[in-house]
Subunit: 592 residues, 2 copies
C-alpha cells in the first residue's frame, strides 16, 4: 500500500536552520511568520494532503476525466476533496488579504505546494492554475475586474486557467490566431480554438475564469500583437452573481501518458465575452507574470513527485527480502536480506535523497527572493531579488523537473517488476513527472531563456556573488573542506563554461545556445552543491550528539554522497560545452 | 501519423562494411549468408514489420490483453498477424534445420529482432520467448523431448515461456518454492504460483510450452536446488498430437505501465505434468542458456524502440513550424522555421542517432561472437568467443535498455506536448522501453554480474585487446585523430576505473560493487567509442564523393558528435568511481 508522510522535519530545517528567516520576517506582512505559525500551518497542510488528497491519487489516475455532454467530470472523490480543500482555506494561501487571501509568503507556500504535488499532482493542477490566474489578474487587471472576480477566485469558489496553446502554436506564441473584437460596451468578443488547456473544464467549481491570449483586428503580426483577455465560463453580472453561459466550452479532452485526473482540454471560443487585461498588444508581458510563478511551481512538482516516490521506494527496500549482502548475510535468520543492504539500491535511494533535499532548499532559497522582490521596502533590494528570480526561474523549472523524472524512475527501479505494474503506484509518479519537462515551456526553451536572455542581461552575478562569498569565507575551514572543495571546483567549471558561452554569444548565437541544456544543468548542480555545503555547515555542529543527532548526521552524510557521487557530472557537462556546437549546427539537415 | 521504415541502409553498412563478414561466412552453415541473401531476407523482414506488425502497435497498446474465462485474448489483429508471421517462417529464423529451422546466424537475426521491436514490441515478446524456450530445450532437453516438442515450437504452431518469478522471489531465484514431485512414469507433477510471466497465456498458438523452475522434494536449499521442467499447456501425446488440458492456467494478468499488448500473467500450476530438462538441481545452468540469449535480445529492444522514436521525432521536427533560428529566419517565406533548425532539437536528435547507430553496431559485434562461440570449428576460438559474450551480455542488456529509455524520452521531448498525449504514439515507446531496464534481471543486477562475476573471471581482456589494438594501429593516423584521440582518452579512463574496482575487489566486495552501475555505463560508452571510431574509419574514404557520399558524411558527422558531446560522460563516471563507495555503504540504514 502506497504511503505519504509530509517531510515536515526537513521542511523545518530548511526554513528555520538553513535560510535566514529573520530576513523573511522583516518583510511587510511577514512579521507573523514565526516558527510556531509555520509549524501549525505545515501540520495542517500535511493532514489534508495525507488524509484527503493522497488517497485519491491512484484512483484518480485509474479513472481519469470524462467529457460528458460538453462538461468535464473529474474522478470520483475529487469534488468532495475540493470542497474540503477550499473550505479550509488552502486555495487562498498566497493571495492578498484585500481579496480574502492569507497573504502568506512564497517561502512558506512553496513547501505546501510540494506537499500538494506529492500527494496528488492532478488535483494540484486545478488549484495551481487558479493561483496563476489570480496573480495575472491581480497584477494587470483593472480595478473593477479585480473587485468582481478576485474574491471568488481566492476563495476557490471559482477556478482559473491559462489559454495559450493553439493547434499551430505551442512555444511560438507569435503564431496565435484567436481573435478578439471590441464591442461598444467596452468588452470584447473572442473566437478561436485553444488546445492543451490544463484544468480547462471541470466540475469542481461554479465558474472558471479563462485567461486567453488573442489578437485584436489591428494588432501587429507576431508576438507584439498579442493581448490578454479574461473570459469567464459563465458570465458574471456587475454584482458578482452568475449569469448565462458564455461562448466557451470543452470539445475534447486529451488522452495522455499521465496526469490523468487533470483534464487537458480543447476549448472552443465562439464570440465569447472577454475583458481586456492589461494594455492592448501587451498580453505577453501580463502572461509572463503568471508563467514565471507557474514555472517555479512546475519545478516544485518534480520535487514533490520525487519525495513521494522516495518514501515508497525506501519502504519497499526495507521490507522486500531478496539476495544477500555481498559482504555476507546481514540477516542470517531470514531467508534473504532486505534490498536496502545492496549498494546499488542504496545508490539509487541516496541519489534521490540528495536531489530531493537539495532541490527543496533551492526552491525555498529562490522563494525567499521572490518574497523580497515583491515586498521589500527598498527598491534596490527588490530589483536585485527580481534579477535573481529571473535568473533562477528557468533553472528551477527545468532542473527540478528533469531530476524529478530521474528520481521517480530510480524509485520505480528499486521495486523492479513491482514498480512497472500499476498496483504499487510507482509508475504513476514517473508518468506524472514526465509532463513537467514539457509544459510551461519545454526544458529546452528554459535553457534558451537562461542562455539567450538571462545571461546577456547580466543576472548571473546575483548567483555568483553569494556562492563565491560562501566559498571565500569557508575555504580555510578544515571541518567543511570535504564539501567546500568540491563546490569550489564545480564553481570553477561553471565560470569556465560561462566564459565559453559568453564569448560565443558575441559572434555566433547558434554556437552560444548549442550548450544551453548542459549549461542549465551545470548551474543547477552548482546551486545544489552550494546549498548542500550550507546545509552541511548547519548540520555538522549538531551531528555529534543530542536528540536529533541522527537527522543531522544523515544530512551531513547525504551532503557527502552528493559531493562525491553526483556533483562529478559537472566535469562532463563542461567538457561537452567546451567541445562547442559545430557538430550540432553543422550537421546536414537532409541527413537526419 | 506514426511511421516506421526499417533502417536497411545502416544495417547493410554494419553487416557488410563494418564487420568482417568473411569471418561469418567461414563458419559452418553460414557460407550462404552472402550480401544478396542478406539483402533479400532483410527486405522481406522489413516488409512484414512495416506492413503487418507496425500498424497493430498503437491499437494493441490501447486495447491491451484481456483474461476471459481463464484464457488470455490478445488485441484485435494479433492472431491474424501471428498467422502471417509464422507461415512466412519468421519464427524459425535462428532454429536448427534439424527441427525445421533456417539456421541463420545471430549476426543476421539480431537485425531482424531490432525490426520486430521497432514495429511492435508487445508482439515481439510472444515470438521472443518462444525463441528463448527453443534454445533451452535444444541445449538441455533429452532427445525424445526435442523430437516431440521442438518442430512445432520452431514452426510457431506452439509458443514458449520462461517461468521463474514467484511472489516472494524475483532476482533471488534461490527462494523459488514451486514443487516438483517425480512420478512412476518418469514425468513430474508441478505445483506452485509463478508471476510476471511474459506471454504466459495467449490465443496465438495451439499450445504453449512453459519452462518452469521448481524444486524437487530432496533438493538442497537455495539456488543449488532448482531444477528446470517443461510443462505444456496442453498435454502432448507421444505422436505429437494434442491431448487434454494440463494443470496450468492463467489466473490474472497484470496492469502495467506499458507493453500492454503482451500478456503478463500469474500462472497457477497444480499437479501439472512436467518433464525434467537437464539434470536435477542444475536448472539454473539450463535457464541461463535461455537467459543470456534473452538478455541480448532485451538490449536490442532498447535499440529498436529508440530507432522508431527517432524516425518519428525527425519527421515531426521537419514538419512542425515553431520559432525562428537564433541565427535569423531560415525560411522567411513561412510563418516560422521548422523545429529542426533549433540547436537543442538537433542535440536531442543527434544524441539518439549516435546511440542508435552505435548500439546497432555493438549488438552486431557481440552477435558475431555469439555465432563464433556456437559454430567455430576451433575450440579456442569458441572459448574466447564465449568469454567475450559472457562479458558483453550484461553490458548489452543494461546499457542498451538504459539508452533506449533515454532515447525514447528525447524523441518524445522533441514533440513537446504532442509527445505527451497518446495520439502520436511517442509516449508509448517510452512506456514500452521502461520495462527493458527491469526484466531479465534489473540493470543493477547486470552491473553486479559484470563487476562481481565477469571481471573476476578475467573476461575483460577479450574486450580490451581489440580496442587497444585498434588504438595502437591508428594513433598516428591524422585523418582519424579526432575519433581515435577521444577513444584513447576514454579507454584510459576505463583502465583506471578497472584498476580501482579490481583493487577493491580483493579486500572489500561492497566497495567493489558500489560503482558497478557507473562502471557498466563507462564500458558501454567506450565500446560505442570504439565502434564509432571504426565506423568513421570505414566511412571517411567514401564521404567525399560518389553515389552514397551523403550517407557516409552523416556517419562521420555523427561519429564526431558522439566523441565531442556524448563520450565526455566518461569523465564523470570515472570521478564517481574514484570517489569510492563509503558514502553509499556507510550511510546509516535507519536514516533512509
Amino acid at each position: 500500500m502506497a504511503t505519504y508522510k509530509a517531510p515536515l522535519r526537513d521542511m523545518r530545517f530548511v526554513l528555520n536552520e538553513l535560510l535566514d528567516t529573520e530576513r523573511l520576517r522583516r518583510l511587510p506582512g511577514c512579521d507573523e511568520v514565526t516558527p510556531d505559525v509555520v509549524d501549525s500551518v505545515l501540520d495542517e497542510a500535511a493532514k489534508v494532503c495525507e488524509e484527503v488528497l493522497f488517497p485519491l491519487n491512484r484512483s484518480g489516475d485509474e479513472e481519469g476525466c470524462h467529457l460528458v455532454n460538453g462538461e468535464v467530470q473529474t474522478p470520483k472523490g475529487f469534488r468532495e476533496a475540493y470542497r474540503t480543500f477550499a473550505e479550509s482555506g488552502w486555495t487562498s494561501l498566497a493571495a492578498d488579504p484585500d481579496y480574502g487571501g492569507q497573504g502568506l509568503p512564497k517561502t512558506l507556500t512553496v513547501l505546501m505546494e510540494e506537499m500538494f504535488c506529492s500527494s496528488n499532482l492532478s488535483f494540484g493542477t486545478y488549484t495551481g492554475l487558479s493561483r496563476g490566474a489570480y496573480f495575472a489578474l491581480r497584477t494587470h487587471g483593472p480595478d473593477d475586474i479585480k473587485r468582481r472576480f478576485l474574491p471568488n477566485l481566492v476563495s476557490g469558489t471559482w477556478a482559473g486557467t491559462m489559454c495559450l496553446t493553439e493547434p499551430q502554436c505551442g512555444t511560438d506564441l507569435g503564431l496565435v490566431r484567436t481573435k478578439a473584437v471590441s464591442q461598444a460596451d467596452g468588452t470584447y468578443r473572442i473566437t478561436g480554438t485553444k488546445i492543451f488547456i490544463t484544468a480547462g473544464d471541470h466540475d469542481l467549481t461554479e465558474n472558471i475564469l479563462h485567461l486567453v491570449l488573442a489578437r485584436l483586428p489591428d494588432a501587429p503580426a507576431g508576438i507584439k500583437g498579442i493581448s490578454l483577455f479574461l473570459v469567464p465560463k459563465l458570465l458574471v453580472r456587475e454584482d458578482g452573481t452568475l449569469g448565462a453561459r458564455n461562448g466557451v466550452g470543452a470539445t475534447a479532452i486529451e488522452h495522455k501518458m499521465g496526469l490523468k485526473a487533470s483534464a487537458t482540454c480543447v476549448l472552443d471560443f465562439e464570440d465569447a465575452v472577454g475583458y481586456l487585461i492589461g494594455e492592448p498588444n501587451k498580453g505577453m508581458r501580463a502572461m509572463f507574470t503568471m508563467m514565471n510563478d507557474e514555472r517555479v511551481s512546475v519545478g516544485v512538482q518534480g520535487l514533490g513527485l520525487a519525495e513521494v516516490s522516495y518514501q515508497n521506494a525506501v519502504a519497499y527496500a526495507r521490507e522486500r527480502l531478496q539476495g544477500r549482502s555481498v559482504a555476507g548475510a546481514k540477516h542470517p535468520d531470514q531467508p534473504a536480506d532486505p534490498l536496502i543492504v545492496h549498494p546499488d539500491i542504496r545508490r539509487m535511494l541516496l541519489t534521490m535523497r540528495a536531489y530531493i533535499e537539495g532541490t527543496r532548499a533551492l526552491a525555498a532559497w529562490v522563494s525567499l527572493a521572490i518574497d523580497e522582490a515583491a515586498r521589500h521596502p527598498d527598491a534596490d533590494t527588490r530589483r536585485s531579488g527580481d534579477e535573481f528570480v529571473a535568473l533562477m526561474t528557468p533553472i528551477v523549472k527545468a532542473f527540478l523537473t528533469d531530476i524529478g523524472f530521474e528520481s521517480t524512475n530510480l524509485g520505480m527501479q528499486v521495486l523492479g517488476g513491482h514498480g512497472y505494474i500499476r498496483e504499487h503506484g510507482m509508475e504513476q509518479y514517473v508518468r506524472d513527472a514526465r509532463i513537467g519537462q514539457i509544459y510551461e515551456g519545454t526544458n529546452g526553451v528554459q535553457a534558451l531563456d537562461l542562455v539567450g536572455r538571462k545571461l546577456p542581461a547580466g543576472y548571473l552575478a546575483r548567483f555568483l556573488e553569494p556562492v563565491s562569498a560562501f566559498i571565500a569565507a569557508h575555504r580555510a575551514d578544515a571541518g567543511l573542506a570535504e564539501f567546500v572543495t568540491p563546490l569550489d571546483e564545480a564553481f570553477g567549471r561553471l565560470q569556465e563554461a560561462t566564459a565559453v558561452i559568453g564569448r560565443a554569444g558575441f559572434t555566433d548565437p547558434e554556437e552560444a545556445v548549442s550548450g544551453a541544456t548542459e549549461y542549465l544543468r551545470l548551474i543547477g548542480l552548482v546551486a545544489l552543491a552550494y546549498l548542500w555545503a550550507r546545509m552541511a555547515k548547519a548540520a555538522v555542529p549538531k551531528a555529534g550528539a543530542g536528540d536529533d543527532a541522527r537527522f543531522y548526521r544523515a544530512k551531513v552524510d547525504t551532503a557527502r554522497f552528493f559531493m562525491q557521487r553526483v556533483l562529478p557530472q559537472t566535469a562532463s557537462l563542461l567538457a561537452a560545452i567546451n567541445a562547442g556546437g559545430r557538430s550540432i549546427t553543422g550537421f546536414d539537415e537532409a541527413s537526419f
